[in-house]
């Protein structure tokens, strides 16, 4: 797994690439919480993500809850394939804001 972080409009955009698993999800957690603790809303781009395990999903749940409690947002972009199935398996598609592409994000 690798990630890149850029700014998109007033959001921080985190693009995850490859596989998020037990070994690297703590890195994603650290990054997401650091962004949110700065007071920024976050976009998590799944378009380059091939796999995410439950530790990655749990990390997103924790970050989403932190965002919600601090009047920020966490939005998932372009989830498809296995990562989307994992989100659906746990019914989190009914919780996380999810959009198809960055073009759907407005100020």
């Amino acid at each position: 797994m690798s990630y890149s972080q850029t700014t998109h409009l007033h959001y921080e955009l985190l693009v995850l690439t490859g596989e998020v698993d037990l070994h690297n999800s703590p890195q994603v957690r650290k990054q997401l919480l650091a962004i949110l603790k700065k007071g920024c809303s976050v976009l998590v781009d799944f378009s380059e993500l091939s796999y995410i395990d439950s530790s990655g999903i749990a990390t997103l749940v924790e970050a989403f809850n932190y965002a919600k409690n601090n009047q920020l947002t966490l939005t998932i972009i372009a989830a498809a394939g296995a990562p989307l199935q994992v989100i659906e398996l746990t019914n989190l598609n009914k919780v996380f804001p999810m959009v198809n592409s960055l073009d759907d994000i407005r100020e």
Binding site: I57, A58, E88
Partner: protein
């Protein structure tokens, strides 16, 4: 490189005995990555023994067993431990520790094998409880759960590490019909979303036909047939038809051997 069609389980010529009694007779058994394989057979056919061999819980008389390319009969402890972290096992009765809460039981492998933050571990545990329809049961003791709940809690623990390979012994036995169907659906979803390879030991025909990509039928320690659901249903083998149609075995009685067994206890 691991390809999608590679065998994740390769059992060859497996022979196994309990004392002098032969349980498995030259069993060949291979499962491809991402497959749901059902092992079917009546009581005493050797299904659970085969399962225990694949978990390296029993030592065979002869033969070879490779799991995810590791020869488990020759592997050292370190490699076996590493392999076991990629495998989940759900035993018939749940096999939970009675002195720990349901939640503590489920998160045990994560506490033991990972460096994950406690928040992550707690959420992962609750996600699995939700998946098994056990939300809110985290702080109960195993003795406070019903048989069906224990089985689902055992499955939650088996999949807590998102294993590549899941073994499931008798998933639907003792469950009410609705829970049994839900569990079948869950097995299919776990394979699709997590790309798990799943080996299910069962004698529940309905469940086997619903979830299996292929079924292996064992009879008296021998593989009678491995095939798709349709191939198994259409098989002309009398033993398979007896199993499918729930016909009692009609063994021919050898009077000489019978009286010998009754009087001497010897076969």
């Amino acid at each position: 490189m691991t390809s999608a069609t590679q065998d994740i389980i390769e059992v060859k010529n497996l022979v196994s005995h309990y004392g002098e009694r032969q349980i498995l007779k030259n069993v060949d058994f291979s499962v491809k990555k991402g497959e749901i394989r059902v092992i079917m057979g009546g009581s005493g056919s050797g299904k659970s023994t085969l399962l225990n061999h694949m978990l390296a819980l029993l030592k065979p008389t002869s033969g070879s067993i490779k799991i995810d390319q590791l020869n488990i009969l020759k592997a050292n402890r370190k490699d076996l431990t590493k392999l076991r972290q990629k495998m989940g096992v759900a035993f018939q009765g749940g096999a939970l520790f009675s002195s720990m809460t349901v939640g503590e039981n489920i998160k045990l492998p994560l506490k033991h094998h990972t460096e994950l933050d406690d928040n992550t571990i707690d959420i992962m545990t609750r996600l699995k409880l939700e998946l098994m329809n056990l939300a809110g049961f985290e702080n109960l003791m195993p003795s406070e759960l019903s048989g069906g709940m224990l089985k689902r809690a055992g499955l939650a623990r088996a999949v807590i590490m998102d294993p590549k390979l899941l073994f499931f012994d008798e998933p639907s036995a003792g469950l009410d019909p609705v829970t049994a169907v839900e569990l079948d659906e869950l097995i299919l979803k776990l394979r699709d979303a997590m790309n798990m390879t799943i080996v299910v030991v069962t004698h529940e025909l309905e469940s086997a036909f619903k979830i299996a990509d292929k079924i292996t039928v064992l009879f008296d320690g021998e593989v009678v047939m491995t095939g798709t659901v349709d191939e198994i249903k259409q098989s002309s083998d009398e033993r398979i038809q007896n199993l499918i149609n729930r016909r009692p075995r009609n063994d021919v009685v050898d009077a000489e051997l019978y009286i010998q067994r009754l009087t001497t206890g010897q076969n």
